[in-house]
């Protein structure tokens, strides 16, 4: 298996963090070499081609418009360390629809947990919230 420079750096950083004060150039080198060896011992099949470029999700919400809907959702996103990359909102009579593109790359939670937390808000506010990975939309609607 080949490692990119980035990956090697990450392994080295992990080693340094773990060693703490004991870290010396020799020790780090040894640990990195061992880590590389270990991942080489796994059987290497040719990897499938799918690549995940980003970790972004699309959040859709709709329901009866009432104050605080956006605040509730964005607050949770903020607490979860997700960043909001785009947002579009429409009000149609008493109803609202919101679509947000959310960057999950540094999120505290996995998709599933985040979904569950959003579901709690949905139940509490009596609205609908869906969170789905962007790849799905990209695959279905972009050639």
């Amino acid at each position: 298996m080949k490692f990119s420079e980035e990956e090697l750096r990450q392994i080295a950083l992990n080693a340094i963090n773990e060693l703490g004060e004991k870290a010396s150039p020799e020790l780090v080198k040894k640990i990195v070499a061992k880590a590389v060896d270990e991942s080489n011992s796994d059987i290497n099949f040719p990897k499938s081609e799918a690549k995940v470029d980003f970790d972004r999700a699309i959040l859709t919400s709709f329901g009866l418009d009432r104050p605080g809907v956006v605040a509730k959702i964005t607050n949770l996103l903020f607490e979860s360390n997700c960043s909001l990359q785009d947002i579009s909102q429409k009000i149609m009579g008493d109803f609202y629809t919101i679509i947000m593109i959310v960057d999950l790359s540094s999120a505290k939670y996995q998709m599933k947990e985040l979904s569950e937390k959003l579901q709690e808000i949905a139940n509490e506010m009596n609205i609908k919230i869906f969170l789905q990975h962007e790849n799905i939309f990209r695959q279905m609607h972009r050639i």
Binding site: S48, A50, S88, Q110, Q132, H141
Partner: protein, 453 residues
């Protein structure tokens, strides 16, 4: 914003309302290196190998489900047709092997493992003969094992001796599992032109030319197609074909994404997407309902075969455009017991076995989950298999028969398995005899179509 509002809504509608799911992610595992002179060693090798590759299968699939919010209905495993690596076993040893496979399937946490199979289109090895004797007992003594026998190909013709043997096998399996409505027969498929990368159980197996281990995915989505056709309204057939293609295109793309991600988690190659419309007993997940939405009053009405042919063709065209890795069976399935609309059509007397046979000529995968009276003679079952195989032979396509001669049941009764296998009304079979023809044995020679070189 990169995406239109309508696009986002259409995807949410598919996954949240229209039951779009991935029908199966099937891990194919080669057992070609598992033979050993010592049966106990061979059994251990088989267990270890399947366990090693399969132990995380359910977990990985669940992780991908969570990530995309699209459910994967079945997580399954297919293996090399067992009579190939283990041609040296006798029938009792094959039964022991089936129990090992059943155990490993249970330990991994999957519901079905398929590939307790043999390929006898041109003749039997000793292993094939022993396997065929072992299958009824193996199916009656295990829960998770599925079996299949390929009795012909367009290149080699139909092995009628095998057809007769398999008809006996089906009868025997029905008898041995009569306490449970002959459920053994629901786990056994007779194939013509079997494909090597089919991810759909019960007919799945991991062909000999496949890699060491591979992940295939079977997509589904009759509910999505049904809704698209309904909302298209009264349009002409070309426009309707277009509507179906657009829908299938989207679900194939999503299916491939899911399959590739599961393969990536396993660290193994991705194989194929099988773009089949496969129904489930759930309401709205029905091929029959699609045919009715296309305009026939009920399945079995004149025009049904044409509607199904068009549906099947649109599915293929869209699948081919959407993915470079289309394989498996890739067509619409019309199992009777697993489709509410089909069950209703049989119960109302609108759909006969003969009409169903005609329909199988234009779609995958044949007479599937068809229950017939328990006193149907083996020669008649052989005749039914031979007819179905002939359709595959001449049209150079896969056909199959999964027939249940339900012990002690008559026309008007039902067999009810619950779950994914559903409920099968007993269909009427003509009582005129096929014995004189099928009893001749030998082979139906390969047709002129086989000489393509």
């Amino acid at each position: 914003m990169n995406y239109e509002f309508d696009e986002i809504l259409s995807t949410i509608k598919m996954t949240e309302i229209e039951h779009f799911d991935i029908r199966t992610v099937t891990l194919g595992i080669s057992l070609l290196d598992c033979y050993d002179r010592n049966l106990d060693v061979a059994k251990q090798k088989v267990y270890d190998k399947i366990y090693k590759y399969g132990k995380n299968h359910v977990k990985y699939a669940k992780e991908v489900e969570d990530r995309y919010g699209i459910s994967i209905a079945n997580k399954r495993i297919s293996i090399t047709p067992i009579s190939i690596p283990f041609a040296g076993l006798n029938r009792y040893e094959f039964i022991e092997m089936a129990k090992v496979l059943d155990k490993v399937a249970e330990d991994i946490g999957i519901d079905y493992l398929a590939g307790f199979s043999g390929l006898v289109q041109k003749g039997f090895t000793n292993g094939d003969r022993e396997l065929i004797e072992a299958i009824p007992i193996a199916l009656s003594q295990t829960k998770r094992i599925c079996s299949s026998i390929n009795i012909g190909t367009t290149k080699s013709g139909i092995n009628m001796d095998a057809v007769n043997k398999v008809a006996d096998l089906v009868k025997k399996t029905a008898e041995l599992t009569k306490e449970q409505d002959s459920i053994g027969c629901a786990k056994f498929v007779v194939f013509m032109n079997a494909v090597e990368d089919n991810p759909f159980v019960a007919g799945a197996f991991h062909g000999v030319s496949e890699p060491e281990v591979v992940l295939n995915v079977g997509i589904s989505g009759p509910g999505v197609v049904l809704d698209a056709i309904k909302s298209a309204g009264n349009v002409d057939l070309q426009t309707l074909s277009d509507v179906i293609k657009k829908t299938i295109f989207k679900i194939t793309r999503a299916g491939e994404l899911i399959g590739r991600e599961v393969a990536e988690k396993h660290g193994i190659p991705f194989g194929i997407v099988d773009v089949s419309l496969a129904p489930t007993p759930a309401k709205g997940d029905s091929i029959a309902d699609i045919l009715k939405a296309m305009g026939v009053e009920d399945v079995g009405a004149p025009g049904t075969t044409a509607a199904l042919a068009m549906l099947n063709d649109a599915v293929k065209k869209a699948g081919m455009m959407a993915s470079n890795s289309v394989g498996g069976l890739s067509g619409a399935f019309i199992p009777v017991s697993e489709d509410q609309g089909m069950i209703a059509a049989v119960q109302k007397g609108n759909l006969s076995l003969e009409k169903l046979e005609a329909m199988t000529a234009v779609c995958s995968v044949g007479l599937d989950m068809v229950a017939v009276p328990g006193d149907t003679p083996a020669s008649t079952i052989a005749g039914i298999i031979a007819d179905e195989a002939a359709i595959g032979l001449i049209n150079d396509k896969t056909t199959a028969v999964r027939i249940i001669p339900a012990c002690g049941k008559k026309v008007g009764d039902v067999v009810d398995y619950g779950g994914l296998l559903g409920l099968a009304p007993i269909m009427e079979v003509r009582t005129i005899s096929s014995q004189g023809f099928v009893g001749r044995g030998g082979k139906i020679p390969a047709p002129t179509r086989s000489l393509t070189n």
